[in-house]
């Protein structure tokens, strides 16, 4: 009764053909990128050393390390997070706990999508017009970090909202029935259950923020400065801009030096993303509801 008919054999062959076809497309997309990353690792690996990470550029940026850029990126990201994380979490709490399904919420969602979709160079123009000139922060870490914070705000909002809505509604109802206010419920029940998901989003945000170049070019990051920043009103070097500078703006840079900078930048970003992904998978495995 269940003999393999000729049609079945034909179908299975076609099926295998399509599977192979789509596998090829996947591999054609992924393998070149992996080869490129491999090249970066091989060429950049020869440059990277403890000295490279912890000394300043010398000889008109054609030698030495990248410490000021690394240090500046830490500053920029830290200040940006101080702004975007509280704001993003507040926005996510509003959207997940208070907002109804109406036109107003739709407009907020649309604004979030747009904030993420506006070109990074337009964010840079905004940063110049608003923070550097209008609020008179000058080109400073503060202006650059504000620009970065606004640009990457959607990352925090989306990740936090997702982990808040994943907390079952019954948890909230149980808490309300005990006479708790909305905020008490959020603080004691919803947030503790969502905190690890929020953390995943924050790590992603760190990764996004540290790689951005265009938004900081005119708002606070400079090609070269011999001084490390002392306050948020100083200018600073940054990893992403440093890669642009050593690969396009400075004559006489040894061929391998920019590979080293690129490798450090990409390692920072990919390590943070991997941590975030691993954390998420661990949480999914642990989930009790």
């Amino acid at each position: 009764m269940f003999e393999t008919s000729e049609l079945n054999v034909h179908n299975q062959r076609v099926q295998r053909l399509y599977r192979t076809l789509f596998l090829m497309m996947t591999l054609l997309l992924i393998i070149p990128v992996l080869l490129i990353l491999g090249t970066l690792i091989v060429k950049g690996g020869s440059v990277i050393s403890i000295d490279f990470l912890f000394t300043s550029p010398t000889d008109g940026m054609t030698a030495g390390g990248l410490f000021p850029a690394l240090f500046g990126t830490v500053w920029l990201v830290a200040v940006a997070l101080l702004i975007s994380v509280p704001l993003g979490i507040a926005a996510a709490i509003y959207l997940s706990e208070y907002a109804g399904e109406n036109w107003f919420t739709r407009i907020i969602n649309l604004a979030i999508i747009n904030l993420a979709g506006v070109p990074s160079i337009v964010h840079a123009l905004f940063g110049v017009g608003a923070f550097v000139l209008f609020f008179k922060f000058g080109t400073s870490i503060l202006a650059a970090s504000l620009t970065l914070a606004i640009m990457t705000l959607p990352v925090v909002i989306v990740a936090t909202r997702e982990s808040l809505t994943a907390v079952p509604h019954a948890f909230r109802e149980a808490c309300w029935n005990m006479g708790a206010t909305r905020w008490q419920t959020i603080r004691r029940v919803v947030l503790p259950n969502a905190v690890s998901g929020i953390l995943t989003g924050v790590i992603l945000e760190v990764s996004r923020t540290s790689g951005e170049t265009a938004p900081i070019m005119f708002t606070g990051a400079v090609f070269f400065t011999p001084f490390l920043p002392q306050s948020v009103f100083d200018q600073t070097m940054a990893m992403s801009l440093h890669l642009f500078v050593v690969s396009t703006q400075v004559p006489g840079v040894p061929e391998d030096l920019p590979y080293g900078v690129a490798l450090v930048l990409i390692a920072m970003v990919l390590i943070m993303n991997s941590v975030s992904i691993a954390f998420r998978m661990y949480l999914r495995g642990k989930k009790k509801w």
Partner: protein
Amino acid sequence: MPGQQLTKTDDLSAAFDRRNADWYIDKLVQVLVFIGGISAIIFVIAIFAFVTKEGFGFILDRFDLQEFFTSPYWYPSDEDAPEYGILALIAGTASVTGLAMLVAIPFSLGTAVFIAEFASGKTREGLKVLVELLAAIPSVVWGFIGLSIMNPIIIDVFDVPVGLNVLNAGIILGLMAAPIMTSIAEDALKAVPDRYREAAEAMGATRWQVIYKTVLPAAKNGLLGAVLLGVGRGFGETMAVLMATGHSVNIPGSVFDSVRALTATIAAELGETAVGSDHYQVLFTIGIFLFLITFVINLTADLIVRGIRKG
């Protein structure tokens, strides 16, 4: 009678008034998170307002709609007769984005179909992680890859003098946009209910027939949304196209011509201009143009994707 009833309720509500400290904290938090909620709207409006404010002087005094959009001559720093035509810049952006989509659309949709419909278990999880990691590579690194890895390859393979051109930037931008498009497209395929697939399989359809006749048509809008967001991303990309296009003002005749993109022009020239000068203001005017285009693309993508959710 009705009057008496009202007084009674008032008494009651006074007796049961629980407005203690917690009640006020609750209201305060509600206001605070509401401010957070509307911050995204405020920022989008602020971006438009501030970019327009800086570029408005040019629109009022110097702006010539016809010259701006139809002249290929971009000589903003010419002292005697500066020219502000962005046609060549639009052509640069359009050619690079177009080629990027030619690369990215088939491969990202193909990868999404493979991940969502063919792969299973560890393969699927592994591929998803890989795609997510590829999407995280910063654009300045992609620009550097175009500059130092793609450039010599293109010179060798095609025997052309310069490897920084439409082809280089198109491939780079395509590789950049593909992972993002893949994950959005995969979400769209995952959103198709399993009962569609089960129904088709019950009718004796093979896996490919299920995908081609059932899943793809059902996910059509989501896939279109993924493509549109990819276009928006390509259009707004700055560092990668600044470094890989060759950055010369040109209406390209072939993929081996160097071009210059709208975004890259702002990035390269803003640092050299005096605040408030015509040149400075025209760069902000380009910014307004970019803002409006991406706004329309994102809005359209959102409307299309929401179309299926309702249906």
